[in-house]
């Protein structure tokens, strides 16, 4: 019975946030197919591990965490392949990355190490509270604050001309 209830809660959460988690996944992998795969994998993982969700109220950050981790896993796996034979990768999947117009800006976010990227995306783009970001990334709030600050610093370094008074 309890199981059914949490299943329902999770299902609703997934449905409500499907577009958000898709964008979140996309922000890591940068192409449609992989982002879709990640969302799909995450749904299965979440359902499969539903028993580990102790507090149903935290379902959103729990599910986001799965999406983030799945994305990071994906990047890690792909990186490995790439370092092995980058030329072959290019041959086999030309244009795996979607073409994007705003290359300058994108690079800046993309060039951030993923741990900084995650906090920026979750805090500013997914509009989560610091505490929620901490939950998603399984870190304490102070770590997140520091990381966010550093992330903004890094971005500022790259976007030298930008004013940075209103940070945080």
């Amino acid at each position: 019975m309890l199981n059914r209830k949490t299943e329902k809660i999770l299902t609703n959460c997934i449905i409500e946030n499907k577009e958000n988690v898709y964008r979140l996944a996309y922000s890591y992998v940068k192409n449609k197919e992989d982002a879709l795969d990640i969302v799909q994998d995450s749904i299965y993982k979440a359902m499969d591990n539903l028993e580990l969700l102790k507090n149903p109220d935290a379902v959103k950050s729990w599910f986001y965490r799965i999406v983030v981790n799945t994305s990071l896993d994906f990047l890690r796996r792909n990186k490995k392949v790439q370092t092995m034979e980058p030329e072959m990768i290019d041959v086999y999947c030309p244009g795996a990355e979607d073409v994007y117009s705003d290359i300058d800006l994108k690079r800046t976010l993309e060039d951030l190490p993923t741990k900084y990227r995650s906090v920026i995306v979750l805090r500013y783009f997914e509009d989560m509270k610091i505490s929620e970001v901490a939950e998603v990334l399984n870190e304490n709030t102070n770590t997140i604050k520091t990381r966010l600050y550093q992330a903004l610093q890094l971005l500022r370094v790259k976007l030298k001309d930008e004013a940075s008074k209103e940070l945080m």
Binding site: E7, K18, E19, I43, M47, L105, Y124, E162
Partner: protein, 295 residues
């Protein structure tokens, strides 16, 4: 800086949502929920090391001779009997199964009797084998909990009708229950099927409609009752009940009413268990071949 964040945000939120997303999400949800139900490999304990396993395989062959001896007693000749002929029991710390195999005896139509009994036996044997296989699988993965309980219940036994319901309950984390029925016309010694009762296939629509009305009525009177029908205003994430199948599970109760049965999770959340609907005879009166079985 903040402007740039805005730009980045804009870019982020302008990532187009592919149209497959909806479909994919719904499909994954449905599929993963189904898998959860089928096989829950959760609650892994490593404690199963050294668990003393005792497997009883008791075959109580309550012999057919006993049954036929009973039938020779005057006055009970029309009595169709159900006996437990075989019982599989698995009793281990984390795994238990109790499989009761029913057998009908004393039917004049021996072919039907044999057919039913063979079906019961082979279905239960299959369940038992599957259970054993699942245990092996679980043990390989470090252990888990699994339970299986099958049995039967005589729903109706009057002059005309004999209905036997068999249930299978699988437990692993949460449980799922499946029920199947066989209804026998005692006078003619035949197995009654749902389509057989009706002149044409209109009964499907009529019964479905009636069930939906009953569901809505029940949900109105009791907010705790939930059925998965489009009318309930619920989201469309689970399979909605739209219609019964041509040979939906059913039995005929002692009042001669048709009872339609759904397995757990078929039309309602698991908390509701398997659900039954008594169909008022006036709803289907026009479609019935005769009033012989259903009054």
């Amino acid at each position: 800086m903040v402007d740039h964040l805005k730009d980045l945000h804009k870019e982020y939120s302008e990532v187009p949502i592919p149209e497959q997303l909806d479909l994919m999400v719904n499909r994954s949800l449905k599929q993963s929920l189904k898998e959860r139900r089928k096989k829950r490999l959760k609650y892994k304990w490593f404690a199963s090391v050294g668990v003393a396993a005792i497997v009883f395989l008791i075959a109580i062959n309550t012999s057919i001779t006993v049954a036929s001896a009973l039938s020779s007693i005057p006055g009970v000749e029309r009595l169709i009997k159900v006996l437990t002929i075989k019982e599989y029991i698995v009793a281990e710390e984390n795994y238990d199964a109790n499989i009761k195999v029913p057998a009908v005896t004393n039917m004049e139509n021996k072919e039907l009797e044999l057919g039913l009994n063979n079906k019961y036996l082979s279905e239960n044997k299959a369940l038992y084998d599957k259970f054993q296989a699942e245990i092996e699988e679980l043990k390989k993965q470090g252990g888990g909990h699994l339970g299986l309980d099958t049995g039967y219940e005589v729903k109706t036994d009057n002059d005309r009708i004999f209905s036997i319901g068999r249930y299978v309950v699988e437990t692993s984390g949460s449980s799922s229950e499946e029920v199947t029925f066989d209804t026998i016309d005692k006078m003619n010694q035949i197995l009654i099927t749902l389509p057989m009762l009706f002149k044409d296939e209109q009964y499907i629509e009529r019964i479905s409609q009636n069930i939906k009305e009953q569901m809505i009525a029940q949900m109105k009177t009791d907010p705790n009752i939930v059925y998965w029908i489009p009318e309930s205003g619920d989201d469309e994430l689970t399979d909605m009940f739209t219609s019964i199948s041509k040979d939906q599970s059913f039995y005929i109760n002692n009042d001669g009413k048709l009872v339609i049965v759904f397995n757990e999770y078929d039309v309602a959340p698991g908390a509701m268990g398997s659900v039954e609907f008594v169909i008022p005879t006036e709803v289907i009166a026009g479609d019935l071949v005769s009033q012989m079985y259903i009054q």
